[in-house]
Amino acid sequence: MLTQLTKRLATAIPSLIGVIIVTFLLTRVLPGDTAAYFAGPAASAEAIEEIRVKLGLDKPLYEQFVDYIGALFSGDLGVSLTTGQPVIEDIITRLPASAELTLFGLVVAMLIAVPLGIVAAVKQGSWIDHACRIVATAGVSLPVFFTGLLLVYVFYFILGWAPAPLGRLDVFFSAPEPITGFLLIDTLLVGDLETFWAALAQLAVPAATLAIFALAPITRMTRASMLSVLSSEFVRTARASGLSPYKVVVTYAFRNAMLPVITTLGMVFSFLLGANVLVEKVFAWPGIGSYAVEALIASDFAPVQGFVLAMAILYVLLNLLIDLLYGVIDPRVRMEG
């Protein structure tokens, strides 16, 4: 297990180096002049030039790159112009908000999609199978920002069930000192149930938006994977041996059908991180996606680079986790690794 972990980590390094180089180059070709932005509305050409020198933007590209790498190793991702804060701090405070939202959405989606997929496969052609198909089609065809706005309109504006789309907490609640950064966990750790419920209420609609988006691929993959397993020899053998249908489906078939489902979950998770960007905008969620978009619009290099790097690391770690999960579920994978 340990050697597999080291091996996998080693292969991740080249991809991270690639990400660093590509984002550095991409942000430099973006239109927009950081120095002009910094210099303010009334700056003269000399003032802009002065700031350019101060920021090191007058140096040749390779020197800037060396500076960037040097800073990176000391944990310095630069300063964001749009928020005025060091990028690393922005990411540390905002990443948990995004992660909480995405994970919550993913868990909700899984809780609905996996049983739905299994039932659809077992009862192929039944009404539940058709329902599954409708859910999947609806899920993929609704863009997340649209679902988000629609849910806000219905549940907040018309019905008044959901709290105002004002981020992670209603304005009259104060968040506890961050321990994990996950509000749902932190409020429980300090025993503040009132704030916990408030945070959960804020989270419900945006998480539902993401869950609707994530339902489709998980349901379809569970169904397809279950179908192929159910028609395989060992399931027929198990059935012929007189095992209960429950044992056959859940213990034998589902365990074997899990591998592709896990792969899909990994993919869906990374899609969700992307979809987050729009959902965060709609719900004024102080996450990392809305942060990156604002930075991109303002040609604010440092947060964009920091965001891409953070996402790349997250993605690498996620893939690693999935690979390890493979090993747990199917020992043959582990031996090959």
């Binding site: 002009a36 303010g40 002065e50 928020t83 005025g84 706005l149 105002a164 408030a198 809305s290 619009i297």
Partner: protein, 541 residues
């Protein structure tokens, strides 16, 4: 699992999820009390720096500076055209200074003896000098703004005694005193800031970026960049009557539709940067209290680069001025929420005022004739640029202009420039045709013209317009104003307004409105030259 069991679990899940969504936002009565003393403001973007003297501070940052720092003096209020309190350009009231004596070449300010900073330290003349020195030294926008009132050198600020400061004038300038009442010369707690300064940062800009260190009516108690700013009232404020609002929570809500929903549902108290269309609809619905005030000294215009053909030809510029669909822009782009700056009657006299409407109107026949006369009977090709950061207004506006110019043969390709790049493009002064807004804090015609039309060619003279006659008139007006010679002042102002309308290097379209939407229970809104909110006067019933 059979069908019935599945249904049972499915509905149980739905109920659980439903109760999560339905959880009400308010649980305890204590919070209801907090609500009545708290003002919840929602806006698109928030500050990136709490100190206006900082590097690259954005406009929302100005609002924090205005409310958290006191200046020596501020303006009195008068009633504006729409019945809303409007700052009085000509009348000043004390803030930190209890007395102001303006002499021929200096002004002396006596400080309030009871004023303290938020950490309890008394406000002294040394703090005032240090803060003004800082404003003229740090460079960038603050220094530029100080210069607009001939405040340029630290030697101008003299400590007479602990509670008296004298400001020496470099030259006679009518704008010197008004310039002390803008946002930039706020007085900082020099002891506190110096303690947090470093050799690399002698003015403590890093500290004031994150912390407010003033004697103002409010202080920032929490700031999460891009998410929210929380301000608490300074109970010891001496600069005026204690504000009614104890706490201001300013949340950033990027989605305009959600800002509107928050207002209409009564959750947010105030918002002021909604799209014009939403604002016009909410005004029609009449459920909220809505205030529109024209920008003081601000105009949306079409600019032309006069250094390159074809716009170096005044006839071409006039042709364009006759081809602009002015009224359509007011109706279809601004939904009527803008003050027209065109179509003054042909026989109307020029006013000693700015902004004032010009006499051009949409007249395609005249436009075509002028264009032919200028030697372009078949028109020409050009590009029409705008700032995507304000696409909501600029895009439809440019499409209307493009369509109209097409009718006289001018083929304009629309060039959308991302917000971050707009200033760079303006600075290059190479765009042939573009739309933009300029507005000056100091509401004096000569101030506007000095920045926008003078041959010194500042970044705001986006047309690169140079005319010795214009320069003479602008300088004449400035000198006349400083010496109180109102007769020649009036002649010069009329002169430069007339010249700007004959030469027409930029075509004024309209004065934009500052649109503020409030719950009916919120009152006390005041219009200020900086167009941001003054929390001190707001009241929530």
């Amino acid at each position: 699992m059979n069908r019935r069991e599945f249904l049972k679990t499915a509905s149980a899940t739905a109920v659980a999820a439903g109760s999560g969504i339905a959880a009400p936002a308010i649980f305890s009565p204590a919070r209801a009390d907090a609500r009545s003393e708290t003002l919840l403001i929602v806006s698109e973007s928030g500050p990136n720096n709490l100190d206006i003297q900082g590097v690259g501070t954005n406009v929302p940052g100005y609002e924090v500076s205005w409310n958290c720092y006191d200046r020596l003096i501020s303006h009195e209020m008068k009633t504006g055209d729409n019945g809303i309190p409007y700052y009085d350009r000509a009348k000043f009231k004390p803030e930190l200074a209890e007395d102001m004596a303006v002499g021929d070449m200096s002004a002396t300010f006596k400080l309030r003896k009871d004023a303290t900073f938020q950490d309890g330290a008394p406000v002294t003349a040394a703090d005032v000098k240090w803060s003004l020195d800082r404003a003229v030294t740090v460079g960038g926008f603050p220094t530029f703004q100080m210069k607009a009132g001939s405040l340029e050198k630290p030697e101008q600020f003299v400590v007479v005694d602990d509670h008296t400061v004298r400001i020496d004038f470099l030259r006679k300038d009518r704008l010197t005193v008004p310039d002390l009442a803008v946002i930039v010369p706020g007085i900082l707690n020099s002891g506190l800031v110096k303690k947090n300064a470093t050799d690399a940062d002698p003015w403590g800009l890093e500290y004031t970026k994150q912390n407010t260190a003033g004697s103002g009516a409010y202080k920032v108690t929490k700031w999460t960049a891009g998410t929210e700013v929380v301000l608490e009232r300074n109970e010891d404020w001496k600069g005026g009557p204690l504000p009614k609002i104890r706490r201001v929570i300013w949340r950033m809500v990027p989605q305009a539709g959600n800002r509107r929903a928050l207002l209409e549902r009564g959750d947010a108290d105030l918002s002021y940067d909604l799209p014009t269309k939403d604002f016009a609809e909410m005004k029609a619905a009449g459920k909220l209290s809505l205030v529109s005030t024209p920008y003081s000294n601000g105009i949306q215009y079409i600019g032309m680069n006069v250094t390159k053909p074809p716009f170096d030809n005044p006839k071409v510029r006039q042709a364009v001025a006759y081809a602009i669909p002015y009224q359509k822009i007011i109706d279809a782009v601004m939904f009527g929420l803008a003050k027209p700056m065109f179509g003054a009657p042909a026989d109307s006299a020029t006013q000693v005022a700015w902004p004032q409407p010009h006499k051009f109107n949409t007249d395609m026949a005249k436009a075509k004739a002028l264009l032919t006369e200028a030697g372009f009977p078949d028109g020409f090709e050009t590009t029409l640029s705008f700032d995507l950061g304000f696409a909501g207004v600029n895009e439809p506006l440019c499409i209307l202009v493009q369509e109209s110019l097409g009718q006289i043969g001018i083929k304009a390709t629309i060039n959308k420039i991302p917000g971050a790049n707009w200033r760079t493009e303006l600075n290059k002064k190479e765009m042939p045709l573009y739309t933009n807004v300029f507005s000056g804090w100091l509401d004096y015609p000569e101030y506007f013209f000095f920045w926008c039309y003078h041959g010194q060619n500042s970044v705001f003279n986006t047309m690169s317009y140079k005319s010795p006659a214009m320069d003479a008139l602008i300088e004449g007006a400035r000198t006349a104003a400083a010496n109180g010679d109102m007769a020649s002042y009036d002649t010069d102002v009329k002169g430069f307004v007339d010249l700007a309308f004959t030469d027409i290097p930029r075509i004024p379209l309209y004065q934009p409105y500052v649109n503020v939407a409030m719950q009916p229970r919120v009152s006390g809104y005041q219009y200020w030259f900086h167009r941001r909110l003054d929390y001190r006067s707001l009241v929530k019933a």
